[in-house]
């Protein structure tokens, strides 16, 4: 015999009328026990719940005669809705303001919820770990995603806790089907990949990876290569970076990847093929693969600590290039948030700072809206003071008054939640998804979270924002209210403080977003340092391709210059290390054909560019940029010599600095340009006549397909290489502007609500003033005197804090920042003052238009 859950018993006790509590409870429990035997625990509990609810009617029937609670709650709802309808403007403002903030809160919370539950669709998600290598680099512990190749098989053999161990290796390959050739990232993996991770399958079986020669492809790849055709059983030709060519049969097609996957396969091959490419280094501890995942049974990952420590010793003994100091198991749910600290991580996600940052802003907006509401609620309550006094005189306890206000607040927050959900659904969620560039579904990770979240919002907005008016006003003595000796509302310090705080938040966010936007705009318009217009770069794979394409390019009338390069500025930047005495200088180097620097219009400061037809002389020359010469400490670099790439070279030219990557991502690095005698160019760089770049691109593609049918055609428009970075900047601008706009709307709404109420209350006073001869200027002065200090104080506090804060974070976002522009502050000031001014003056105008005879004659 088992008793039902305690909470249900409590509910039952609550639902039964007091006079009958014993026998009804007895009946219900007896019934429960019977059902328990007949229908099982779950069903019995459910039925018990319905019993409880069915008894509620009796409870209401019996208690309504003896206690007024239920009647009074009905009365509260009635008077509350009347009070709300009486001031439709202020109620609408409260509801709209709250809804706006709630909409933002929902969107940001869903974003956080989504980010925190990445990869959660894998069934073993909580027992899956990536084994990452700890490596000491320059006395600093760094996490590396790749792990020694034999690790997973050793773990599987030595530790019974390990259920699955998956080796993964990413490689580049040229993939061909029919005429479609692209360069792709392919993934080699153990067959257990399909069991450790459950990426949904559309066609084929989960065991497809067990057979050599099979390939599994994602739904995207299926459309890319096969279009409408069914890819199952088709043959794809792969050429790997190591040069080997092989044909694979499509044995499985994945379904669309779940939106919350932080990584997933696009082309999946059995790992044996990777060992073929690597000359069977399967048991070589000095060799690494991209990632190793293990799935444990329920046991603690610390069970593996000991064996992993011994593996680290074995690894070091293998004397490879990279020595591992130890291993760390990172749980799959945490992997995406830590991807930023793992070198070459296979999973990608936001760091936790970013994940929590958005809800933080959402909460801030919600708090602003709550302040609004508290302000408005306090001032509306002043109109109801007499009602409260009468209630108290008639015998209402203080609790009753508190309930009255709480019910009203809960009503408002309920409306706001509905409106907020609608706003979120129609505006914020689609907008945010578009900005973030990923489709974030409007859903919570579990129903419980949704319930907690909405309950939290409901209580926060309803009780927290309603508590102050409820507890404060309920304290008043009826006698003080009736006598009119109670001074309250106009000179209320509390609401002034709230308004100041709110305006402070608004100032901070507006100034912040303006500084941010200003910086972002500044970055967008920065000079790249060379001329990227009308430049087309084409990747070539060997000398023959280069020569044939060059021939074609020179015969094209629209091509004004054609040069070659090994590595290419902005597209393919390669670092080497230059040894200068004790110093090691990390340098970018490009081996280029004469004319390359002229073609890109890299500005020359001193000396000369490389000269044509003097290959012997030029192979012993080099051109450096200013950053390099500064780093070397040269006053006049021309004529200096340096051994680079095994050749003694003389510096013949000095270029100005220019940007090889997007401004925020890296500083300007030292650079070396050489012109070797026997070059192996892998980029053909063309300058075309203005507007003809696309046409030239088409012609080159045609030729490329004829001379290299097995290779993908990769081209880069030089002026578009930073586009992705620019898009990021645009997204940030849009986000900041949205936040600023919402916060300014909220503060305007707050001010408007408070003003309209307070000014209306003083209509009579204005009427008397006018009747006694006051001019409109005088009335404006009276009102301004009340609100100007608030705006001034919040501005004086807000601006320095915002400036300090944003300047601090700005440096981490852009490596080049602009000094604070006084114009920015002025603009922020203008935006705020004008929007607040419009709000205030719309009300003041009403006050000045007051007709004394209208407001004075009636009560």
């Amino acid at each position: 015999m088992s008793a039902p859950p305690k909470i249900v018993l409590k509910l039952l006790a609550y639902c039964t009328p007091y006079s009958r509590i014993d026998d009804i409870e007895g009946d219900t429990l007896e019934l429960y026990q019977e059902r328990l035997e007949e229908k099982g625990a779950a069903k019995a509990r459910l039925l018990l719940l319905t019993d409880c609810l069915s008894l509620l009617k009796l409870k209401i029937l019996t208690t309504s005669k003896t206690s007024g609670t239920y009647i009074m709650i009905g009365n509260y709802i009635k008077t509350s809705s009347r009070a709300l309808l009486k001031n439709p403007v202020t109620s609408a403002i409260s509801i709209f303001g709250l809804a706006l903030a709630i909409g933002c809160a929902i969107t940001t919370f869903i974003f956080m919820d989504f980010q925190l539950h990445l990869d959660s669709f894998h069934p073993h998600v909580n027992n899956t770990y990536q084994v990452v290598s700890k490596v000491i680099e320059k006395d600093e512990l760094v996490l590396h995603g790749p792990s020694p190749l034999p690790l997973s098989q050793s773990l599987l053999a030595d530790q019974p806790e390990v259920k699955f161990a998956v080796r993964m290796q990413y490689e580049q390959a040229n993939v061909r089907f029919d005429r479609n050739v692209f360069q792709e990232r392919v993934l080699f993996a153990d067959p257990s990949f399909m069991h450790a991770f459950e990426f949904p399958l559309r066609y084929g079986s989960r065991s497809a990876l067990e057979t050599r020669g099979n390939i599994m492809i994602s739904e995207k790849m299926a459309t890319k290569y096969f279009g409408e055709y069914n890819p199952m059983g088709q043959q794809m030709n792969l050429q790997f970076a190591q040069g080997a060519k092989q044909t694979f049969v499509v044995a499985g097609v994945f379904d669309e990847q779940p939106v919350n996957a932080s990584f997933g396969p696009s082309l999946l091959l059995p790992i044996e093929h990777y060992f073929d490419l690597q000359d069977q280094r399967e048991n070589d501890w000095s060799a690494f693969n991209s990632a190793t995942f293990v799935v444990l049974d329920e046991s603690n990952p610390s069970a593996l600590d000991e064996i992993l420590a011994t593996y680290a010793g074995v690894q070091n003994a293998a004397n490879g290039e990279l020595k591992v100091d130890g291993f760390e198991l990172i749980r799959l749910p945490e992997l995406s948030h830590r991807s930023w600290e793992i070198h070459q991580s296979v999973s990608h996600g936001n760091s936790l700072d970013g994940v929590y940052g958005m809800p933080f802003i959402g909460t801030l907006l919600l708090i602003m809206a709550c302040f609004n509401y508290v302000n408005v609620a306090v001032s509306t309550a002043t109109k109801r003071l007499k009602e409260i006094a009468v209630r108290k005189v008639m015998g209402s306890a203080r609790q009753g008054i508190i309930w009255l206000f709480l019910v009203e607040n809960l009503l408002i927050s309920l409306f706001s939640i509905f409106l907020g959900v609608a706003l979120c659904y129609y505006f914020f969620q689609p907008g945010f998804s578009a900005m973030a560039g990923i489709e974030i579904p409007l859903a919570f990770s579990s129903p419980q979270i949704a319930i907690y979240f909405f309950l939290g919002i409901f209580l926060l907005t309803g009780i927290v924002s309603g508590a102050y008016p409820a507890f404060y006003i309920s304290k008043f003595q009826p006698i003080a209210i009736m006598k009119g000796s109670l001074k309250f509302g106009n000179s209320n310090l509390f609401s002034k403080v709230l308004l100041t705080l709110q305006l402070f938040i608004a100032f901070t966010s507006i100034i912040g977003s303006l500084i941010f936007t200003d910086n972002a705009m500044f970055v967008k318009e920065l000079d790249w340092g060379y001329d990227p217009d009308n430049i087309l770069a084409i990747k070539v794979n060997d000398q023959k391709q280069y020569d044939l394409l060059m021939e074609e390019a020179l015969s094209n009338n629209s091509v004004t210059a054609a040069v070659g390069a090994t590595g290419h500025i902005g597209v393919d930047n390669r670092f080497t290390v230059v040894n200068q005495l004790e110093d090691q200088i990390k340098t970018l180097s490009y081996d280029v054909s004469p004319g390359y620097l002229e073609t890109l219009n890299v500005p020359l400061l001193e000396g000369r560019y490389f000269e044509e037809n003097k290959s012997l002389q030029e192979s012993k020359s080099m051109v450096v940029n200013r950053a390099f010469s500064d780093r070397m400490g040269w006053d006049s670099p021309i004529g200096k010599t340096l051994t680079f790439d095994g050749v003694d070279r003389t510096v013949v030219g000095l270029t100005d600095n220019f940007h090889h990557t997007f401004f925020g991502y890296d500083e300007i690095r030292p650079m070396i340009f050489t012109a070797n005698e026997t070059p192996q160019y892998d980029y053909l760089v063309l300058k075309t006549e203005p507007g003809n770049t696309v046409m030239v691109d088409g012609a080159m593609q045609e030729t490329f397909h004829q001379i290299a049918p097995d290779d993908p055609y990769s081209k880069y428009y030089q002026d578009e290489i930073f586009n992705r970075a620019y898009n990021n900047v645009d997204t940030n601008i849009a986000l900041m502007v949205t936040i600023a706009v919402i916060s300014i709307i909220l503060s305007c709404l707050g001010l408007y609500g408070l003003l309209s109420f307070n000014i209306q209350k003083r209509f009579k006073e204005f009427g008397i003033r006018k009747a006694l001869g006051a001019e409109w200027q005088h009335i404006v002065k009276t009102i301004a005197k009340q609100y100007a200090p608030i705006i001034l104080v919040s501005f004086v506090i807000g601006v320095p804090i915002a400036t300090y804060f944003i300047n601090g974070t700005g440096h981490s976002m852009f490596s080049i920042t602009k000094p604070l522009n006084p114009l920015t502050v002025l603009l922020a000031l203008t935006i705020i003052i004008s929007s607040l001014g419009i709000t205030v003056f719309s009300q003041i105008y009403k006050a000045t238009r007051v007709n004394p005879s209208d407001v004075l004659k009636s009560e």
Binding site: R20, D27, T50, T62
Partner: protein, 114 residues
């Protein structure tokens, strides 16, 4: 006399209490009704009816012994009062009168009822 009017469900409850005689407590009544009329009776509906009937004076009740299966709670046994019995009788007679006054042949299913 609308206050004394019996509802159909109330009538069934009172009759069932009569049938059960000494064992007429909440759950037993519920089961008996469910068995005889093949309708399902919710706990709330039954107890509401019992409460109302007692309030009107048609029923009396007293607490019985407590058992372990009921979580140590006593049973409340119901009895139909004389006043209640009178009302039941009144209700029955009203109906019988109605049956009698139906002209013969109107109800095809009961041609001979008279």
């Amino acid at each position: 006399m609308s206050k004394n009017q019996l509802g159909e469900f109330e009538e069934i409850v009172m009759l069932t209490i009569g049938v059960l005689n000494d064992n007429a407590y909440g759950l037993a009544i519920k089961k008996e009704i469910e068995e005889r009329t093949s309708r399902s009776v919710s706990m709330g509906a039954l107890h509401t009816a019992l409460y109302r009937l007692e309030d009107k004076g048609f029923l009396t009740s007293e607490l019985g012994e407590a058992t372990k299966v009921r979580g140590g709670k006593p049973k409340r046994f119901f009895k139909v009062t004389i006043f209640g019995q009178k009302n039941l009788q009144q209700a029955m007679e009203d109906r019988q009168q109605l049956w009698k006054d139906i002209p013969s042949g109107v109800f095809e299913l009961f041609p001979s009822s008279k």
